[in-house]
């Protein structure tokens, strides 16, 4: 379509982006429109305030974590490429993708999705979800409706259940193992991003 092509031409390195993330041109266009809608000041970058302007996101208990995930450490802004790359995690997995060991893991594979989620838990990026981090997540999810002791009990129990090497923290492997029964492809995919 004409409009698609014209929009696509506005985006630099769009071919590379499409190949990396697996989005179709129609998707890229849609995401670009959304990006522009969020970027109210038309700077070509998104800042945390732009994300914060989304009302519903403010109500989300882990909203700030999600926003934080878009920004690489140290960076203040998000350009379109990073925006798309992060969202590519939520593309439904391609079943027909041939397992080519030489190619890097596709960004929307089960492992990548889990890793993304893991990073949201693990704010200090040490590769483990410590008890304190878990408590933080629980606190934000349970929105102050429970007492501190209850939170601690839950955290204790969670770590007890998942922690196999007894280091009182949940590593990525343990995280992955505890979610082996959950259909991550289904849970972490947005149909929109087909």
């Amino acid at each position: 379509m004409g409009s698609t092509n014209s929009t696509l031409s506005k985006i630099p390195n769009v071919e590379e982006l499409m190949q990396e993330t697996g989005f179709t041109p129609a998707h890229i266009v849609r995401l670009y429109d959304r990006f522009e809608a969020l970027d109210k000041e038309k700077t070509g970058h998104l800042r945390p305030q732009d994300f914060g302007a989304i009302n519903r996101l403010a109500m989300n208990p882990i909203g700030d974590r999600i926003i934080g995930a878009f920004f690489s450490p140290g960076q203040e802004t998000v350009d379109f490429h990073s925006f798309v790359r992060i969202l590519a995690h939520f593309r439904p997995a391609d079943k027909k993708h041939p397992k080519d060991p030489s190619m890097p893991e596709p960004v929307n594979s089960r492992t990548s999705k889990l890793k993304f989620a893991f990073q949201l838990y693990d704010q200090d990026k040490d590769g483990k979800i410590s008890r304190a981090e878990l408590l933080q997540v629980l606190r934000s999810m349970l929105e102050m409706q429970v007492t501190e002791e209850q939170l601690e009990s839950i955290a204790d129990r969670t770590i007890q259940e998942a922690d196999l090497d007894k280091d009182d923290a949940i590593s990525f492997e343990e995280f992955r193992k505890s979610l082996e029964k959950v259909n991550i492809d289904h849970k972490m995919s947005i149909r929109f991003l087909r």
Partner: protein, 808 residues
């Protein structure tokens, strides 16, 4: 009875004898049933002839006596009847009870013969039994009673099954696949109905089949009756094959939701069969009718569900009748929907699904167990009865066998089902994230069983309007038999052969729960960022609305604030606590304890080894000896109920909400366990042997209130004492007192803490110690054989239903 003794013998050589005896008992019972029912039906028939009413012998007597009185006022004195037989007085309830008893005994019998029940699904066996009973009645020369009367079926037999299904419907997978389910239910059934009906008509028009008098509309009506997948049959068969959740919910959901389509098509064609033609206007009206029937049914169900939830908010003082509200409101929803010719099944499902989260938050745990067991019991008996009646009706009903019609029906049903499923899946897969594979499609197609609903609908047809009714009935019965027997029996081996994914038995861990919620929030956030109003967005909105407004209205007390995660966590903790106690607390029982309790009907729960290891306390050998001595001396007073336990159950409810205290307790316990591991000198104690009375504790699973009856107001020293039937030896009394004086640790857990007792005194707080002592008392008392009021609990195996979070 000799039979029971024989049944208990494990030796193989006597198994033949057992089976023979069992069959003999069954046959005798059947014969008795037959004669009773046969004898009952003939006076029935004669009763129908006379309009005057009442031909009982009693009435005859009265009539005679009355006539005597009228005519000559002379009272002929008879001998006073010391013993008289008056069957008609109790005839109807007696027959009903007899049928129910027959059904239950059959069910019992099948499970005693394990080899049989693993090859043949229960439904088949039950139909065979029905055939036998019907055959016997016929042989006895009596007329077979028309047992599968449509009224009886639709008003009494079907609702319990549907309510059971609706109340325990796993909402999350159902909603996730609702699009697929609706496609199969609506479009699939329409396709089936028209394909079968149309092609049958075409076949009927062929010369030489002698069927040319069957017109188009009756054919279409027949098609719509036969094309509906039956929930009863699906449930009965799928229960036993343990297929994975997705397929189960697809087929089962379809069978439930196609009721609306069936109702509309049935009424449409029935109405216009007289007129002989259907105009396009009628078709439009039909579509509108369908929307009204389905949405109206759901609305009626939802209204009653909300009423029930609201009522349950106020039942905290009358816990005993709580289950009744669940049942009565649901039944009324069904009846109200049927009154308006809306879809009763959908009303029932909606009622159950809507009411469940709120009712479960309000009612006591005992009521919840009651509801669960009653529903399972009723639906089980209903299902059994339905299949037996199907068998009886097969023998009874007038049949008009027509080779062409019947065989074409069977073939067409299969073909249309396969084409329908394949075609629809092709379209559906374009919209699904997790696609349906060929294997899935095969199972969905093969699992489309027909059942008693089709038969009852056929039975309802008017004899005059539909002269070919008997032929239809014959064809319906044949189709039902074909699907239930052939498909039902072969689906299990096929599932194994095709290596279809089976149901995962494990329960959700708290990790899964937390992470799933986390991911839900994450996806909602991402959807918001994309500006996409997707699945998660609406779910989140619904949850918020629910939390803000609805829960406040419908949930009693402060519990509406309780987040779902906490509720789930409590459930898990509670379950672990029970497992903890079941593991025996670690003390080895002296073998001299006579087991006063019948262990036959208790199946010990499998302990996850992790729990067992974690739960087992460790303490010094010397201390262990001491404890054993104490216990032995105390526990020799047998035959006593654990009064402390009973007392708590009486005051169960006010303390039901002592979650916080319990959690505190638990936390202390975990800390203590940590301390334990620091002890260098410890002894692991093996878990109690499975046949120990501690297993009786499992029965107390129905009564968790005991755990939480922390006497928050207890003054320091816990006052729980084991009321011993006979006087205790002085030293044991002293030990008890010593324990109670310590307050903090002893009894149950105190025994385990041993050397760290002193430290623990500082740790323990009074309320929690009271709680702990209770638990310990229960542990100590549990070792007392013969005291357990063991509620035998074969119970339904779907324990994981309880783990379903309140809201998806």
């Amino acid at each position: 009875m000799s039979v029971r003794v024989a049944l208990h013998s494990p030796t193989g050589s006597r198994s033949f004898l057992e089976r023979g005896l069992l069959l003999l008992v069954m046959l005798i019972f059947l014969e008795g049933t037959v004669l009773t029912l046969g004898a009952a039906s003939s006076p029935d028939i004669s009763a129908q002839d006379n309009t005057g009413g009442g031909h009982d012998r009693r009435d005859d007597h009265r009539g005679i006596a009355g006539s005597h009185e009228h005519t000559n006022y002379t009272y002929t004195k008879k001998a006073f009847p010391v013993l008289s037989l008056d069957y008609h007085h109790i005839q109807v309830p007696f027959e009903i009870s007899l049928w129910v008893l027959l059904a239950s005994l059959m069910k019992l019998g099948f499970h005693l013969i394990p080899r049989l029940s693993s090859i043949v699904p229960e439904s088949c066996l039950l139909i065979v039994v029905g055939l036998l009973v019907g055959g016997l009645i016929k042989l006895a020369g009596e007329e077979v009673p028309p047992v599968l009367d449509s009224n009886l079926f639709f008003l009494c037999l079907l609702p319990p099954i549907i309510l059971d299904a609706g109340y325990f419907l796993p909402i999350r997978p159902f909603m996730e696949n609702i699009g697929t389910i609706l496609m199969f239910a609506v479009v699939g059934t329409l396709w089936n109905a028209f394909f079968v009906g149309g092609l049958l008509y075409a076949v009927c028009q062929i010369e030489g089949t002698y069927l040319s008098q069957v017109e188009l509309l009756p054919c279409l009506l027949f098609g719509s009756i036969i094309s509906a997948v039956d929930p009863v049959a699906v449930l009965a068969v799928f229960e036993e094959i343990h297929i994975n959740e997705l397929l189960h919910i697809l087929v089962f959901g379809e069978s439930l939701l196609n009721d609306a389509v069936t109702v509309v098509l049935y009424h449409l064609f029935e109405e216009y069969s007289g007129a002989g033609e259907v105009t396009p206007m009628d078709v439009v009206l039909g579509v509108i009718c369908f929307l009204i029937v389905s949405l109206g049914g759901i609305a009626v169900g939802a209204i009653y569900g909300i009423l029930a939830a609201f009522t349950s908010r106020f039942t905290s003082h009358t816990r005993v009748i709580e289950p009744l509200f669940v049942f009565v409101y649901s039944y009324m929803a069904y009846l109200s929907a049927e009154m308006f010719h809306l879809s009763g099944i959908m009303a029932l499902i909606a009622c159950g699904a809507v009411m469940r989260p709120y009712v479960e938050a309000n009612i006591s745990h005992k009521s919840h167990t009651t509801v669960k067991y009653f529903l399972k019991m009723w639906s089980s008996v209903s299902e059994t009865l339905i299949f037996i009646f199907l068998g009886v009706a097969t023998v009874a009903g007038p049949h008009a066998w027509n080779w062409t019609f019947v065989s074409v029906t069977v073939i067409l049903c299969l073909v249309s089902r396969v084409i329908g499923v394949v075609g629809l899946t092709f379209i559906i897969n374009k919209f699904r994230i997790v696609k349906l594979t060929t294997k899935d499609q095969f199972i969905v197609a093969y699992g489309g069983l027909r059942g008693a609903i089709a038969f009852s609908l056929g039975y309802l047809l008017d004899k005059d309007l539909f002269p070919m009714r008997t032929m239809f009935l014959t064809a319906i019965i044949t189709e039902i038999f074909f699907t239930v027997f052939v498909q039902g029996m072969t689906i299990k081996p096929l599932v194994d052969l095709l290596a279809v994914k089976k149901k995962q038995e494990a329960k959700r861990s708290i990790n899964e729960e937390i992470h799933t919620q986390f991911l839900d929030h994450l996806l909602t956030g991402i959807e918001d960022i994309c500006g996409h109003y997707g699945h998660h967005h609406w779910k989140d909105k619904l949850n918020r609305f629910n939390k803000k407004y609805i829960k406040k209205c419908l949930i009693a007390g402060e519990r509406y604030k309780e987040p779902q995660l906490i509720a789930f966590y409590h459930k898990m903790e509670f379950k672990q606590a029970i497992e903890l106690v079941e593991s025996g607390g670690g003390v080895k029982l002296p073998s001299a304890m006579p087991s006063q309790v019948s262990m036959q009907n208790i199946q010990p729960k499998k302990l996850p080894p992790a729990v067992a290891e974690r739960a087992l306390p460790q303490f010094t050998k010397g201390r262990e000896e001491e404890i054993r001595k104490i216990l032995r001396s105390n526990l020799q007073k047998t035959r006593q109920r654990l009064r402390s336990y009973n007392r708590h159950t009486l005051v169960a409810d006010p303390f039901e909400d002592g979650w916080n205290d319990f959690l505190l307790k638990k936390q202390r316990m975990i800390e203590l366990e940590k301390k334990m591991t620091e002890m260098s000198n410890y002894l692991t104690v093996p878990a109690a042997p499975p046949d120990s009375p501690t297993m009786c504790r499992a029965r107390l699973a129905s009564d968790p209130n005991a755990f939480y009856n922390i006497k928050a107001s207890s003054e320091g020293v816990p006052t729980i004492q084991v009321d011993l039937a006979s006087p205790q030896s002085p030293d044991s009394v002293n030990m008890l007192n010593e324990f109670s004086k310590r307050g903090a640790t002893d009894q149950g857990l105190g025994q385990r803490e041993g050397a760290t007792r002193d430290e623990d005194q500082g740790l323990m707080m009074k309320p929690s110690s009271a709680g702990k002592v209770e638990k310990g008392e229960e542990d100590g008392g549990n070792k007392n054989p013969g005291l357990m009021r063991c509620l035998s609990d074969p119970g339904p195996s779907n324990e994981d239903e309880e783990d379903e979070p309140f809201l998806p």
